[in-house]
């Protein structure tokens, strides 16, 4: 598993960006700033995907999350504008308890992972032609999930239109 040293450096930079911006997403008061930090966090996750040799997924992440989902979020914030007021507290009274619970969760994961080495490590590297392989798999092995996901997306789109349209007078 001879990786270039720069991949490791990139991983650490991106990991710090992901964690810091992710924490800002859940802790900032201004919901609009939260949406912008969500975009930064998702872009950094796309970078993490690149360090893991998943180029197609990284591009899809930028297109779908940063391009579509975040804009949708900002739309929703704009349409519910008076909620973005700074005076309204954005968190409820469970914050301390939730923080303790999540910290315990992270510590538990670190504890378990540091004591575990029972996976069968990959001997063969991933296929070099990432996009080509994904395209072939989508059309052969995973064709049924692909079609199901298409139907799901159409259903979600129609459902969103039906839900969000104005009632006829």
């Amino acid at each position: 598993m001879a990786e270039h040293a720069s991949v490791g450096i990139m991983f650490w930079i991106l990991a710090i960006v992901v964690v810091v911006s992710g924490f800002l997403v859940v802790s900032l008061r201004n919901i609009f700033h939260c949406a912008l930090f969500l975009m930064l966090c998702l872009t950094a996750v796309a970078g993490i995907f690149i360090t893991l040799d998943a180029e197609f997924l990284a591009v899809a992440q930028v297109l779908i999350y940063v391009g579509a989902v975040s804009v949708l979020m900002i739309f929703a914030i704009m349409l519910t504008r008076d909620l973005a007021d700074k005076q309204i507290p954005q968190t409820n009274k469970h914050a301390m308890l939730a923080f303790l619970g999540c910290t315990a969760f992270v510590l538990g994961i670190i504890l378990v992972l540091s004591g575990t080495d029972m996976w069968r490590w990959a001997k063969t590297p991933l296929p070099v032609e990432n996009v080509m392989t994904i395209g072939k798999l989508l059309m052969t092995k995973y064709v049924l999930p692909f079609e199901v996901i298409s139907i799901l997306l159409v259903a979600a789109m129609i459902g969103a239109i039906v839900l969000a349209r104005k009632e006829k007078a």
Binding site: L57, L72, I88, I109, R120, A156, G159, A164
Partner: protein, 99 residues
């Protein structure tokens, strides 16, 4: 490999924290996106470092991204509907599902 899993765990915990503590429904949806991304990092990391044979982990991550997009669409439509009916999207305000 462990570092990727720990990063995903931290991101998941941050998302969980946001889901529990946010009062704004859009904030909850954003925290959910963080949790989806933590799961995706795990899938792709396992795909690279543990024997799979093909790109199964990346395929799953792509399907998760698509499902998350559908979920965000429906979620934000529901948020708009709630906002129109209640004039607010604070989770404390609408507890009509609770008996």
């Amino acid at each position: 490999m462990q570092y990727y899993l720990i990063l995903a765990g931290i991101l998941f915990a941050i998302g969980l924290f946001g889901v529990i503590t946010r009062r704004n429904t859009v904030g909850i949806l954003m925290s959910l996106e963080l949790m989806f991304n933590a799961a995706n990092i795990n899938f792709v990391a396992f795909n690279k470092y543990v024997i799979t044979g093909d790109l199964a982990g990346q395929m799953f991550a792509i399907f998760i991204v698509a499902v998350a997009a559908a979920e965000a669409t429906i979620g934000l439509a529901i948020v708009l509907l709630i906002y129109r009916n209640w004039r607010g999207i604070d989770t404390d305000n609408y507890s009509i599902m609770k008996w």
